[in-house]
Amino acid sequence: MSETKGSKFSIRDVITVAAMLVINYMIAMVVSAVTLPFSEVYLYGSAAIDGFLGAVFFLVAANRVNKHGLLFVWAFVYGLIQALMGYAFLLPYFLIVGVISELSMIGKNTYRKPIRNMTGWALNSIGNFVGCAVPLWWAWDSYKEMALNSGFSQETLDMQFLMSTHPGLMLLGCAITGLLAVLGVLFGQRLLRRHFQKAGILE
């Protein structure tokens, strides 16, 4: 079956997506923990590294499920996790990210086309990067108070404020994230061809 189906997700699809999401988020948590000691890497690189590493899992899910709504679900679940973490206002933001990413996948069989997957995944990753700045735009003062009480250094906060308010730096962050997400999809496609398609797991 090579056409992107418009029908609902089957139970197999749902469980595949859930399994890939779990691995993706666990890797994202490890990436956050490892990059946190280095403020610059954390601010500009963590979403990008997530985009690179998570691409393989997204591609496996995309090629297996091949149904519209996958990127929307991916972003929605991410937003839901953020909302549970106390950033409830991020849920509508991630819904918008999901819709935009999903719009880039309109068409037939798009979840099995490397270029379209690259576009969709890069948009989703850039959405994750911009999402880091949303709490700052939303309520900088309360965020600053909370952050200072929690042990954030003034330098880190200044850097975060500069990043989120300077369009050039935001563009730089978006470019790094987009680039690594694209490289991640290229790496993922290579793995798909070499292992998963050869083993007959994916078409």
Binding site: S10, A18, A33, N149, F187
Partner: protein, 233 residues
């Protein structure tokens, strides 16, 4: 077979929706409480809850990690130590509260959890994704350990030099078996669920009696009140 109520584990006696509400309370308190005192008090409340649900060892472990993180964070900020970053300990101690409730959720039978959540106004696919995700976390951790052992045996993790000089190969050796194993488990899980009629279009029922009892109401109300108090301290 009629089971004696006293033989059922305490965690199986409460409704899945109650535990989800406890999770929401824990998440909001963890991220909205501005004082360490309030945060610590709610952590103690969660520890007591875990003890009540016969998860004493797990609760004690988490409380220990929490105390360590808070103490380390205090030392970091007092002496302006930048490495390891205070952000790391901040993230750790904030995440421990939701993690404690996740431990509780993992101990509820999946059938009971599914039928409880089915009563909530959540799209079925999203609900299933969330349940499978919660169930998959321990599996992924276990599988990752197995893959790591296999990599060690085959000499792929022999030295840091090999890992640093061949990062993409190392990544490939780790990711590919991990995905293969996860897909296999996902397929088995899907087959099992289909056999038990999850795709049936008819209204689904459960072996478990899903209703909110006095215990559930007490847990939700006391947790909410304590959460509000802890956020205001």
């Amino acid at each position: 077979m009629i089971m004696n109520h006293s033989n059922i584990r305490k965690v199986e006696q409460i409704d899945g929706r109650t535990v989800l509400l406890l999770a929401v309370c824990a998440c909001f308190t963890s991220f909205l409480s501005t004082s360490l005192l309030g945060h610590g008090l709610y952590m103690i409340w969660l520890f007591l809850l875990l003890c009540y649900f016969e998860l004493f060892t797990m609760g004690l472990g988490m409380l220990g990690v929490y105390i360590l993180s808070v103490v380390w964070l205090a030392i970091n900020t007092k002496y302006h130590i930048t490495f390891p970053s205070p952000l790391l300990f901040h993230m750790l101690y904030r995440l421990l509260m939701p993690a404690m409730i996740v431990c509780l959720i993992v101990h509820i039978p999946s059938g009971k959890l599914t039928s409880s959540i089915r009563k909530l106004p959540i799209p079925e696919n999203i609900m299933l994704i969330l349940i499978v995700m919660l169930r998959f976390v321990p599996t992924v951790v276990h599988e990752f350990g197995e893959v790591k052992d296999a990599m060690k045996v085959r000499g792929f993790l022999r030295s840091i030099r090999t890992v640093l000089f061949h990062p993409l190969s190392t990544l490939e050796y780790a990711i590919v078996p991990m995905v293969f194993r996860s897909l296999k488990i996902a397929d088995e899980l899907a087959s099992s669920a289909i056999v038990r009629g999850i795709e049936s279009p008819y209204k689904k029922d459960s072996y478990y009696i899903i209703r909110l009892t006095a215990k559930d109401i007490f847990l939700v109300m006391s947790s909410t009140i304590i959460a509000v108090v802890c956020c205001r301290v």
